[in-house]
Symmetry: C2
């Protein structure tokens, strides 16, 4: 399979360089955090293939601000919010996910989430203003005649820019809350009976109660989104100068590149313009730095364990760190722990702390036995790629739900960050390392990842370039976009059929009762006349 | 794009020959007619790639009986029906489609169709008996240890053989009536609001009446199928020796290779194990025989028109033939007409009759201006491949519906075989030849055909071999298979929610009325005491 993938990449590479007419100009919507990691891989490949990539960057960007030379053109724009405000909103989300989610009631969670998303939405509109009310920038971008606009719809208003510049829009997306964007605006079908709502922590095998909860989750998130989007509706109508809605504009995206695949996702219905390109940032492991390789080899048959809680968490409480360090000391493996906080007192000699680790190269090392992870999609995909079983300590956002996917597929155990004790960590690690089913399942997922018709990056490239070549992909767009919700669900048809049936029953009953009365009247009249 | 496709084919070819461990044994279910044309292409490619292909052939086969040496192993089996009986059932279908469909009422059509399918079903069970009650054959096939069973589900019982041999099953299918097999057994979602039922002649843009009719078509065909399948349910339970249903067994297919793509199909929701490999038999045009090339070139700027009504129709009435021949004489193009019946009196010098024509090579000739076709999927796909606009004279089966697809996409006009006059034919031809939109749309469909991530034959190969390599494709199978119909549609959840809401309203009303009565009683008592 690998031979095929490389062969195809080479062919693709040739195509654009040979046929330079196909090379074009790509505008990239501003983005942040782990969303950027995936997007960057796509953009680098597009640049490799001879395309010209222009990235919109706001002055209050956390991750994106380029330091030093870059392969992409950066188009900066000013926004009326500060970096501190961005951090503040992010911290609030973090605090909510880490400390409030478990202790609040269902209604409180929804209320809090509503307020948080509302705050984020207002911040997003301020960022949108920096672009869409910036006439000179719009004119400049119009003059560049882009072939496609690439955006993560989590960051709003790319749809408006696509309309203003008259450029086809391609989305790259992990998911939206309860998949409201994909379902309500993209028309992605999701029967709540076997398609769990994103973040709900259900699998595709749900008992009655799970299905009930899943349905309530869909309903509550849909209502919340529709209420929140009213603000966007006004903004979108104002910017475009004609009556429109947020959802209608989002629904115009030509292709949705979804950053998962069936190695991670539960099988579900989808649409021709939804392409599952999960793990497109994955790549083979490179050799480790010499000293690290030496350390890894010194682990002998026991092998090593990789441990990181992602780039967002740099410090844990000393209590938590000690619990973890104490647990790690009790397993025979060597542990490479990415942690830049204070050194825990209970740190055992088998555990080595690093400020940074070459995570992908370590996961691809034959000595690696397990991966302790916070459950970010990017990290999980690297583990899937290399077939490494996981111990998940999910923290916030999609991490708990991601880990449920891996647990359901038999490739991970999950620990509760707030309540876990050393014993739980030891047991979790021993389970995934010593029970061979975890390694087997991780390898099965790895085979699913690798054994597909087309490598995810090639597939993403194909569809972005398809849209560039053909100025869209209208032949993949379902007519559902032109139906109202009651038409979509045939409620008008059902109502008509019900009315017809009711009418037939009514006429039948009336006719019968008329006949009976007639007969009865006659027989009564007859008996009277007798 | 072509470079990429060839490159990929080559890479695929290498893969199996290099890695001979991947080459395996394929059992092919018996099949007939145009279904065989597509399947043969797949089987030839599988043989090219080093696989061993064994085709089951019944003694009462119309098309499949090999004359002379073949690249496939043929496993013959005897059935208790004669070739005449097979022809008889086929003729009845033909007569029904050609002459009865337009003059019968809706109820009569359904009744007649029910009887015809029932007759076919009983014939199919007789054919099944020839295989499944043939112990020595089953034992022989078991001994061959096949890696996959390839079948068109239109020909029943392949699912039983897959169970008996414990071999994964891959379907290759154009469609079943109203897509009942795909929807009811394969769990393919098909919202009746924008997914027209097969054979219904609706497009994906339906007004209220169309949607109502489409819904009725789904409902009536579903009821009909479920009633008819009861006979299969008994047979399947008997053969497997455990309680099962036809639909449950069909639902176990690993992959459904659907013989259309978005160049032909209206965009619609689908599932991860449904792969659209339409037009896999298409190939570039070869040079024409010398005399034919000379004739074609002699047409000058006017070009040529290709005319064939398929392999099933060899004779037309002389009246009809004269109408057609008279019309063909009125256009400036030269017409190559595949017709082996009696020469019509009105035949003009610009029209040449042939017993057989190299259809694909002619459609690929730059002089070809239009294609007069009965609307079989194979012919339509060759026209799409080469970008030739069509004049459809659909006769029976899926042909009228196929032509509606092409008309909806702006690449064809449709004539009514029963009522058409010379003038209609002339107008139809002039329209598709002189109105440039038809050629443009045909070319657009051709681009969609060619510009896809993977050539259809390669995609079919990939998934057949995937199933062989991995002994199935369980990771693509939706959990919907394990739900009842009311669970699937969440009717139990809705009923519970409705009950809860009703209970809350009831308690609320009761409480309110209790309070009101209490207050009222008090104030009354008070006023009395005053």
């Amino acid at each position: 399979m690998k031979l095929l993938h490389y062969g195809m990449s080479l062919l693709f590479l040739q195509l654009c360089i040979l046929g330079s007419a196909e090379c074009g100009r790509i505008l990239v919507w501003h983005t942040e955090g782990s969303h950027w990691i995936n997007l960057k891989t796509v953009l680098e490949t597009l640049t490799d293939r001879g395309h010209e990539v222009t990235v919109l960057v706001q002055n209050a960007s956390i991750f994106l601000a380029p330091s030093g030379p870059s392969r992409f053109t950066h188009e900066f724009f000013n926004v009326s919010i500060s970096l501190e405000e961005v951090y503040e909103v992010m911290d609030k989300f973090l605090y909510f996910s880490l400390y409030e989610l478990d202790r609040l009631s269902y209604l409180e969670i929804n209320f809090k989430l509503y307020r948080l998303i509302q705050e984020d939405l207002r911040m997003q509109i301020q960022i949108c203003n920096g672009l869409l009310r910036n006439e000179p920038l719009i004119e400049k971008l119009k003059g560049r005649r882009f072939d496609v606009l690439l955006a993560d719809p989590i960051f709003a208003c790319s749809e408006l820019m696509a309309e203003l510049l008259d450029v086809p829009l391609v989305y790259t997306l992990r998911f939206s809350i309860a998949n409201t964007l994909e379902r309500l605006c993209g028309q992605l079908p999701a029967p709540p009976s076997f398609v769990p709502a994103a973040l709900g922590k259900f699998t595709d095998q749900m008992c009655f109660t799970d299905r009930l909860k899943n349905m309530l989750l869909y309903l509550s998130q849909d209502l919340m989104s529709m209420k929140l989007w009213e603000e966007y509706d006004k903004y979108y109508t104002e910017i475009l100068g004609r009556p429109t809605t947020f959802c209608e504009t989002v629904g115009k995206a030509e292709i949705w590149l979804i950053r998962t695949y069936w190695d991670f996702e539960y099988p579900r219905p989808f649409l021709p313009n939804f392409k599952f390109v999960g793990g497109l940032h994955c790549k083979p492991a490179k050799p480790l730095p010499e000293d690290m390789e030496e350390l890894v080899l010194s682990s002998g048959d026991d092998g090593i364990v990789i441990f990181t809680l992602g780039s967002m968490i740099k410090n844990l409480t000393m209590e938590k760190t000690n619990i973890i360090a104490h647990a790690l000391g009790q397993i025979p493996q060597k542990i490479l722990w990415r942690y830049s906080g204070e050194k825990p007192e209970t740190l055992a000699p088998n555990t080595i702390l690093y400020d940074w680790i070459p995570q992908n190269d370590l996961l691809g090392h034959p000595k690696t036995k397990a991966f302790i992870t916070h459950g970010g999609t990017n990290g999980i995909y690297e583990a899937i790629y290399h077939g490494v079983p996981m111990v998940g300590i999910p923290l916030f956002a999609d991490q708990p739900d991601n880990m449920v996917h891996m647990k359901a597929k038999g490739a991970a155990v999950i620990l509760d960050y707030n309540t876990m004790q050393s014993e739980d960590i030891v047991n979790g690690l021993k389970t995934v390392i010593n029970d061979p089913s975890y390694k087997e399942n991780a390898m099965r997922l790895s085979r699913i990842y690798h054994d597909r018709p087309m490598a995810p990056r090639d597939e993403a490239m194909f569809w972005i370039e398809f849209v560039m070549r053909n100025k869209g992909a209208k032949h993949l767009r379902v007519q559902a976009h032109n139906l109202t919700w009651y038409q979509y669900h045939c409620l008008d048809v059902f109502a008509t059929l019900a009315a017809i049936v009711a009418l037939i029953i009514f006429i039948f009953v009336k006719t019968c009762s008329f006949c009976i009365r007639k007969c009865f009247y006659r027989s009564k009249a007859k008996s009277k006349s007798d």
